[in-house]
């Protein structure tokens, strides 16, 4: 046996074929998608709803100062309850299960951002922040399980829901990886616990969804035509802005777009 390790190369025909498929699908895949926020904006900016919208904006302005204090709060702070209440209000106004799942993804992002802030600047708040993060992850995965167990949920919707959680898993993993590099040794234990919670977002750590017809057997290699399903979105950026309870914590990727 050789003591050399080979560097296998893909077949040229495979590379050409895959490239052609990617180029064929790119225009539709890369086309701008409508997001939940644009959809919501479209809904609330209808002429009939404008007076209500104006009233809502005024109310928001009145509570802006209190909201800012809440936005900067960490789990365990007195003002944190206001932030959670705002998030609950958002959830109760969710138009459908998918929007709800996206909101829960945002909330999990916020809890992680708070955890990062706590570990970095206020270690005494880290255990409570970790608890809050764990609870947010639990609500998120529960919502996924509920959506996927709901009779009549289409395979596309299930896949889209999986994508949201997959994307969140990648974002959280990336944030924790970054934090691990800079966090003090004293924070490593809390960080490990946070990582365990984040791992629950991975497919292997959450309930299996209702099998699709195609899941019952792996397609043969010859018959396999790659489809852009279950995309993962390891995006990074800043927290979504303009949402109740938004926090300007350390940079954290946004939840995936709402399709």
């Amino acid at each position: 046996m050789s003591d050399m390790l080979p560097r296998p190369k893909p077949r040229d025909a495979f590379k050409r074929s895959l490239r052609a498929q990617l180029m064929a699908q790119a225009p539709s895949v890369l086309a701008p998608h409508e997001t939940t926020w644009t959809r919501l904006a479209g809904t609330f900016l209808r002429p009939a709803l404008r007076p209500a919208m104006v009233a809502a904006v005024i109310a928001l302005l009145i509570f802006a100062s209190a909201g800012r204090a809440a936005a900067d709060s960490l789990p365990g702070d007195a003002a944190f309850g206001l932030k959670v209440a705002a998030e609950q209000l958002q959830l109760s106004l969710a138009l459908d299960d998918t929007t709800r799942l996206h909101l829960l993804a945002d909330q999990a992002d916020h809890r992680l951002a708070e955890l990062v802030t706590a570990i970095s600047t206020r270690p005494s708040a880290a255990p409570t922040a970790t608890d809050a993060y764990a609870a947010a992850v639990q609500r998120f995965t529960d919502a996924l399980a509920a959506l996927q167990g709901k009779p009549g949920t289409s395979a596309d919707k299930q896949t889209a829901a999986d994508d949201v959680v997959d994307a969140a898993h990648l974002r959280h993993e990336a944030v924790l990886d970054e934090l691990e590099k800079t966090a003090p040794e004293s924070a490593q234990q809390g960080l490990e616990r946070a990582r365990e919670e984040a791992d629950k977002l991975h497919a292997s750590g959450r309930p299996a969804r209702t099998p699709e017809p195609n899941d019952t057997a792996e397609p043969t290699h010859a018959a396999r035509t790659p489809t852009p399903t279950r995309a993962v979105e390891p995006s990074r950026g800043s927290l979504p802005t303009g949402t109740p309870g938004n926090v300007e914590e350390r940079s954290l990727p946004p939840a995936s777009d709402h399709h």
Binding site: M1, P8, L22, L30, E173, A174, E233, G237
Partner: protein
């Protein structure tokens, strides 16, 4: 045990010029320019394929998963954030694609150096440092590899197939350099224990 590899490409994924070029291409692709994604595909398809090949073993599966990786990347590229090297981002997607696939398989197939050695297109080789596989029966090595953790396999592949140094691998997998050295050490130690006939390991 750890030394310079013949095809060491430590700066490949971290050189700022290449990284900036990748970032620009990714931005253009994310804005809808399919051709830019095509350039990135051409640049990295071989690397992704090699990585996947060693994690799933056979050529057909490697092609299947490689397809999946690039389809996922195409969907996700509008949200790619250049803070992370593009190849590292692709490896992350590949890692999850491999995990998802193994979860769905009834009989999991694993890395096989024996199959890799028999690969019809294997035209380049690297020296796995202190003759990691020298003198060992390929089937023994295969069994041993199957018992390593996914992360250990990943580190060995990036180190001994791709030829990256531990500093680069640390950036690719998002762990500290020292952690990578530890993982590599434990992986090699595990192989040593799992291949009793290898006195030189």
């Amino acid at each position: 045990m750890v030394g310079e590899l013949p095809n060491s490409r430590a700066e490949d994924v971290v050189s700022s010029a290449e990284r900036e070029e990748d970032a620009a291409l990714a931005r253009r692709a994310g804005s809808g320019e399919a051709g830019a994604f095509g350039v990135l595909y051409d640049r990295y398809v071989d690397a992704v394929y090699r990585y996947v090949f060693y994690r799933v073993r056979n050529e057909a599966e490697a092609e299947d998963v490689t397809s999946d990786v690039f389809m996922r990347a195409l969907r996700a590229i509008p949200k790619y954030e250049p803070r992370q090297a593009f190849l590292a981002w692709l490896y992350r997607i590949a890692r999850n694609a491999v995990i998802d696939r193994s979860r769905r398989q009834a009989a999991r197939q694993q890395v096989s150096f024996e199959d890799a050695l028999a690969h019809p297109n294997a035209d380049q080789v690297v020296n796995p440092d202190a003759g990691l596989l020298a003198g060992s029966d390929a089937s023994v090595v295969r069994v041993a590899m199957q018992q390593l953790t996914p992360l250990q396999q990943e580190v060995l592949i990036l180190r001994y197939v791709e030829g990256y140094d531990t500093k680069t691998i640390s950036k690719l997998v998002g762990k500290r350099d020292g952690t990578i050295r530890g993982i590599e050490f434990r992986a090699l130690s595990a192989l040593r224990a799992l291949i009793p006939s290898r006195e030189a390991l």
